[in-house]
Amino acid sequence: MNRSEYMAALRRALSVLPEEERANALRYYEEYFDDAGPENEEKVISDLGTPEKVAAQILADYREVAAVPQPDGTAPQPKKRRWHGINPWLLLVLVLLAIPVGLPLVGVLIGLIATLFGVLLSIVLVVLAFVVVVPLCLLAAGVVLCGISFVLWGMPASAVTTLGCGLALFALGILVSLLMIKLCTLFLPPLFRGLVALIRWPFDKIRGRTRKNGGEAK
């Protein structure tokens, strides 16, 4: 290890110190090397010991001095715990005063959220009904028409026409069912995720941890 490597290691080992403290310590040891002279570089390094050892001594002393801020030598006193921010009694009074105003506001807020939720739920139900009911109706109509055609055997032409229509409707019902299943697999997961993200959004906001971007649906 040469001088510059030694100083770099010392700088790293002192990285927890405030900038000024670290600069002072590094300057002291730079000067120490300068004053010892380049011919004594190796001796200084071996005399000083590892950079980590040197740093440990500085850090230990720094903590000690930091705990004793009074330069006049009075005994170190543990810092008194103080309430930062609002006095708790004042806070209580504020809360009590805020209740008449706050309760209706909270009520309105809950109402709004409930309404929003209701609307979303009804939209989902309508879509679901549509998706389920339309194919089922088509299938049912097909079956019913086929059934009617058996009653109409007295008039073969009508019976065959009705049967044909029934079968066609039944087939259409199967097709629409397949289409709906396909549409569901395509659109339901993203819709669901979006919904979840929408519901989570206010909670994330409350936590205040929502990133400026990407806080919503991922």
């Binding site: 002291y28 004053d35 010991g49 500085i58």
Partner: protein, 105 residues
């Protein structure tokens, strides 16, 4: 055999060295090492602490094309050193009385 050196004793020694003449880190280390077995890395924390306590101040002086940081004793440092001398004398007298059976002056 060497005795472990209390940090207050080291403070007094460094103050005494700097009181003779304002001097720089490397020289202080050399001077102290003439009489005490201390590690080279012991003195920076001591100097820093004495500085924080207002016993020493520093000033920079050009030397060989660079700035060298000198340590200078303050009035507060001198007062502390006087107290260290009194404390040391009492301490030494006590030890001497036990070692040699009589008070040394």
């Amino acid at each position: 055999m060497s005795y472990p050196i209390a940090s207050s004793l080291l403070d007094g020694i460094v103050l005494a060295v700097v009181e003779r003449e304002s001097t720089y880190g490397y020289r202080i280390t050399q001077d102290v090492q003439k009489v005490l077995e201390i590690s080279e890395s012991t003195l920076y924390p001591v100097l820093r602490r004495l500085q924080k306590d207002g016993c020493l101040t520093t000033y920079d002086e050009a030397y060989a094309g660079r700035n060298r940081r000198y340590y200078k004793i303050t009035e507060h440092g001198r007062a502390q050193l006087r107290q260290h001398r009194i404390d040391w004398q009492n301490y030494r007298n006590g030890i001497d009385a036990i070692f040699f059976g009589g008070e040394s002056q």
